[in-house]
């Protein structure tokens, strides 16, 4: 049986990644390239907030210390956050946001699909809700990768830059850390090698259609899942946690 701590830590990787990405997508609110896409990105952000809440609630329940979803979201510092480095990266231009989303969905689609067969009943239920959202997010981001890749010369260059900038943060996605390995052994999490094959296939298919190439021989950064982040996360958290930190212990 996997240790409870490993289960909690692995859930926090998913929960924190969802929340930090929602936080980033929320920054687009009111600033999108066209009103219709503003709404699309907000919808995605809302899906991610909802997902993070389910996951935090489950983690808090497993901890059994009487903490709430908000305690987990608002009262942990950078070192305790376990989100992927990819999701804390800045929005950049729309191409960066699209590529960040696409890489993540290309991982999450096979991941949550497989998680529907988890030995853990709660994760199984969360996965079966999440997979529907993820399928849509994957579709949205894939279509934009293709549009930007096969759009104008300018958009092609811009999305190429975004790929170069963000590929180094994709290695971590399918690189299991120790808490995840325990879960994989117990069939609570799916095997990451299989997920990686599917993820690569999704990326290659989309890139081929978009006339884009995935850079090889890239140095892959790691550490997010263990709490080793870029400097960016501190700013995200100080923004997000400001009220809870400045006025502790209150109802909002």
């Amino acid at each position: 049986m996997a240790s409870k701590q490993s289960l909690i830590d692995s859930i926090l990787i998913l929960a924190d990644s969802s929340l930090i990405l929602a936080q980033r997508l929320g920054e687009w609110c009111g600033h999108g390239p066209v009103l219709e896409q503003d709404m699309a990105m907000t919808n995605i952000a809302l899906d991610y907030i909802g997902r993070s809440r389910l996951l935090y609630q489950y983690a808090a329940q497993l901890q059994g210390e009487g903490k709430s979803e908000d305690d987990l979201a608002f009262l942990r510092d950078v070192g305790e956050y376990k989100n992927l480095l990819l999701v804390e990266q800045e929005n950049g231009h729309f191409g960066h946001t699209v590529i960040r989303q696409f890489f993540l969905e290309a991982f999450q689609f096979p991941f949550y699909d497989a998680l529907q067969n988890s030995q853990d009943q709660t994760l199984k239920e969360i996965a079966s809700k999440t997979i529907k959202e993820t399928a849509y997010h994957l579709k949205w981001s894939t279509e934009w990768v293709i549009r930007l890749g096969d759009g104008t010369e300018e958009s092609h260059q811009k999305i190429k830059t975004a790929i170069t900038d963000l590929v180094p943060f994709t290695g971590e996605l399918t690189q299991a850390v120790s808490c995840e390995k325990e879960l994989i052994d117990q069939n609570i999490f799916p095997d990451y090698d299989e997920i990686k094959r599917k993820m690569d296939a999704l990326i290659n298919t989309a890139f081929k259609q978009a006339g884009l190439e995935l850079p090889t021989q890239v140095y892959m950064h790691q550490g997010g899942k263990k709490g080793l982040h870029s400097e960016l996360l501190g700013y995200i958290l100080s923004d997000m946690q400001f009220l809870q930190r400045a006025y502790p212990g209150l109802e909002w």
């Binding site: 066209v34 219709e36 896409q37 709404m39 919808n43 579709k139 279509e143």
Partner: protein, 91 residues
């Protein structure tokens, strides 16, 4: 600017698609997805049709009288036009 699309939504299976408004999209596929985010945020639909606005041909309001008035006096097309004895309950 992206072309304008008219959006039609089927609220639930068994009902007709109904015009709900319009939006801009680069192509029809994007129009469907935009319609999903713009017009079905509160479970308003189970199916979406989109058609580029320029492809809609509409009757001219100036023709409304010759078009629609002549139907006015043809009340014999309606079941209530016919008097039947009360004994015939359902017909």
């Amino acid at each position: 600017m992206w072309p304008l699309f008219e959006i039609f939504i089927r609220a639930k299976n068994g009902l007709d698609h109904k015009h709900v408004g319009s939006l801009h999209a680069a192509d029809a596929q994007m129009a469907i997805e935009n319609a999903r985010d713009v017009y079905t945020r509160r479970l308003e639909g189970v199916s979406i049709w989109v058609v580029e606005s320029k492809h809609i041909t509409a009757s001219d309001p100036k023709d409304a009288d010759p078009f629609f008035k002549p139907a006015e006096d043809k009340i014999y097309r309606h079941p209530t036009f016919y008097d039947l004895p009360d004994e015939v309950k359902h017909m």
